[in-house]
């Protein structure tokens, strides 16, 4: 029995509230249970130096946790003057995941930045961030297309992410904080609608795991991502 009473293959409630802020070209507040992440997509008519003049766009991401998103207050990265390794690792993962479903030629020479700010954390903040970032990106691209700035849709598919783990020997889906802290293995899968994999990361926190369990975790991730794809569809309609 999981601490939350959920079945092993049961996701937490997914909520996606679009248009959470009025300035961004696309935005949403996404919740996986008590994990809440605000994502904004900002379009800028410029690209990083290595892409200038190539006629291609760029999609990138930044991630941050508000200091009191967690049980005890963490120090503010802006006050410390540097981002932790964890923050940098997560924002690199988010950016890669969204680029996996974006045709940069069709986007044209502009950059979309996905700012993922965790308002409240209860496990799975990076996967909620990726899943919400797709929604914000979709909305921003819709805005660009509505304005005629882009004529052919650069988004090739939906992308979603979910965490899984092995808790007391059992593979389970969408870990909350209590499970995450005690899991033997902790995995994050980024899946493309249709079933292909953009990213798989599975880490033994306690005991190492075998091939069979890696596959079980992947199967749970498919169940979870199907739920998220449905919620994304509902949100952007």
């Amino acid at each position: 029995m999981r601490p939350s009473g959920r079945a092993p293959d049961e996701m937490r409630a997914i909520e996606i509230q679009t248009g959470f802020t009025k300035h961004a070209e696309g935005s949403c507040l996404i919740s996986f249970g008590d994990t809440k992440v605000l994502v904004t997509a900002s379009v800028e008519e410029r690209v990083p130096p290595f892409l200038r003049g190539k006629g291609e766009g760029w999609v990138t991401a930044e991630y941050s946790m508000l200091p009191r998103a967690t049980h005890t207050r963490g120090s503010r990265e802006a006050a410390k003057g540097k981002q932790t390794g964890r923050t940098q690792e997560i924002q690199r993962l988010i950016g890669r995941s969204l680029r996996a479903v974006t045709d940069m030629k069709k986007l044209g020479e502009r950059q979309i930045t996905l700012d993922c700010d965790v308002i409240q954390a209860d496990g799975g903040t990076r996967t909620a961030a990726i899943s919400g970032a797709w929604v914000a990106l979709r909305l921003a691209v819709n805005t660009l297309m509505a304005k005629g700035l882009i004529t052919s849709d650069p988004l090739t598919a939906k992308v979603a992410a979910v965490s899984c783990g092995i808790c007391e020997g059992t593979p389970v889906l969408d870990l909350d904080y209590v499970e995450d802290s005690a899991a033997d293995a902790d995995a994050n899968f980024v899946l493309i609608e249709g079933g292909l994999i953009a990213e798989a990361q599975a880490t033994a926190e306690g005991a190492p795991y075998d091939e069979e369990n890696l596959l079980r975790l992947l199967r749970l991730a498919r169940i979870g991502c199907d739920r998220i794809f449905a919620a994304q569809d509902a949100a952007v309609k």
Copy 2:
């Protein structure tokens, strides 16, 4: 006529949603019209070095704007590795304002940090932050008193803040971004319920102003703060 159609002494709608996050000892999302600030109060059983062993507490604040809280995306301070002068000036003001209504002996040797994160900006973010911070602080102190950790209420009064300014020659209350950008003078008042002043700051952005106008701005601030005090009362009940 103001761009928003408001009368010169008319505040924007004030909303205070308490308990916005589940981890903080006190929290609220405060809105002055389209300006939205999330404030959390975090209690820690330790004080800064200069207060250790003195039996007194401390109240401090940190302030940040999410990168896309504004019309165009600003760079993330954590990514740049330093806080701007504006950020530091604002967080010092917030901390001072709350300390003005806190009896540090009664608080006991603990620190309460008020994190003010601007979700959406439309003028007056620092004054909304101060006004919301009082609510979060009140709730956090209530929690401490309910637990019996504090026996005598350390909060001596309510504190609220509002901006005023001189726009096209007319003193007006609670400037939104459009007015703020064009104002000749820009003032922020931090008032204690009952009428005393904790902080007055009035800056000529365009033309300098005279004593008469300083007083008119202060009178507008009294009108605005009375509205905020009422909203604070309603929120913490």
Copy 3:
């Protein structure tokens, strides 16, 4: 009776020694009693990026305290690798104050930087800095006009600043360190010759203050600034 034996509306001795350094286009060492600030004005034939090509100039300021300007040695900001919030707040105030009396069109596309370095501190360093900065700026502008680089005087008026405060219930002018440490309220006024106000900041450090006292502090500031205007006049002649 004030610790220094001064009357409530009595300034400390003001001294302004111009030409303190030979390289700067304008410079002075200004003293308010034992507070001594070296100000240099440096002209550069370039403007910040946001002004390029607009035909307008810019006036900005930097402020620093030498490590042993104070009773006990403070750490050097260059060694710590960052400026404190207090430093940033003060240098923003100085820049704003001088810009309030400068016509940027007449200055032309060049920047004048006012470096204010506190040699010895005894209260009121920021107000001495502003008052001295006007002298250095005046001298630098004179240099530009003498060279024919500017044909119409961009300085529209004199500007001066002074601190006031409420000490043991009495409003007093130009606080020294002893008074400043114990004041209930602490104010800084930046006044334009003729009586208009560029900036008013009044902070309750101990007890909050009322409107009547705010006005009394402003009246003291007028007395102090008139003294400073006279000293500025004498210095630049």
Copy 4:
């Protein structure tokens, strides 16, 4: 045909030269073909703050690339004043991998730091670093045991890592720089001798991949790690 002429399941030559530096408690220069990483293991009789007094040890890692380890010179992180996200991500991975085979109770309250400095890069630097770090750690632990500071071996197994990828549709083992730059998917596996998995990371750089290919990559990794385990055995004998 691979650019190097290797078969899809063929590793590059593995060389491990132990005792490369005289000061470290354990060290080696490990080569996977032209990729060369110097690893030193440094024992310190202290642990990070969160472990003090718990009777447990810690194993951590730092990673860096010499500026000219690569085709074109990269900037030195010490000169820029910050480590890139890539560096931080890699050093977190190395530390986690080594902790997966260390019994911290048996290590006792001491820390071993594995410094992995890439002398020459040709793809697979992080996996060479992990594989070499095990050798340096093994040698350092041997030193501690020889001195009687540790009585029971804290290393529970060998650990090794190798990269795999999908190049022009074919899963291949141990990518060099040319293959790495053009791969559709890029994976790193950290395996424990005996077959369990400590870490699996597979990223789609170009096209996303399917479950079948994930398994093929894992099987290649097993072949590669068996080769590395043999080289580690030979090196520490």
Copy 5:
């Protein structure tokens, strides 16, 4: 003929004004011609970690140039967030030079920091700083002895420094900025009264130099330092 009209072995005018600031335990403003350095000596009853509990003291130095000490304004190190290599090299040299004449046992477990801030630069700022630092240190030690905190004089001798160089083939003493910019070789000597050498540094900026010229530069330095020793004596009497 030197640009300044001085003879090759002629120093600029040396002035040492003691007690330039009221807070420091020792201070002076030292001038070598137009080069002016303010030096303060600050006594703190603590030592760096590596000396704690050893009953020995420490003497250290910090150096900085005010932004407009030079012909054109340099950027402020505190604003840039780091000290240049030149600054660090100079402050290490100053500290070493003063430690060469201090008996750390007699100083007792306290630290004296010599802050050397260049008010105006015209060549030779580091040598003026060292020479003035000895005066400030002497005065601070006198204060400690007068208070009975130190019973036996820890200063073993006077120390002074001067620059020399080879300009258009001729060895000359005490270079000003014009000579310094064009010198073929540039040397700094730190001498102990009596003739011993604490530090010799001679750098070929243009053409390399021979042993004969190294000796000539040293002889000029002796002439200069004798002048400085006399000025130091006069200043501290």
Copy 6:
């Protein structure tokens, strides 16, 4: 008798292994006994801003010590986020030394960066770095000449460096760590083949030294540099 058993004027074994890394235009691993420094020369077809468009090149250097190059592990500068004063002082010295033998006009508008990374430290790392840097620079220039990018050799002479010191009253050549830690005076000489001096630095660590000893140290340096010149010749042939 020296701790190593060497005669006072005896160098440690010098080894120079060229082509240590395959990417750099020039590289070597230089050893002075147990001191080992890897030097790479990187050619870039750009110059620093102050040289742009002048038709001249630039030679610069960076220096770093691997964390465990020393007896006990030092912290990694990239992790701390800043280079020490010692590092900056050394890399400035290396750059100056190499520029002393380079004709920048003949080099043309390109920059060569010499990265000196200390693999193992046993005294004299900066002098080994300079001596090895010449070899790497020579090889890089040879590459440029072989490609026809440079037609006239910009290297005007060989340059080498060696440390000397006064140990227990005796001047000795090429100090190892044990001698260096206990030396009364510590000197580094950078000599040009033929006998001229590019740089002389002699510091009293314990007792100050006299002119006679300065000359003795210089004579030892000549003996050492002649040995190094021969090794450089052998290496680049």
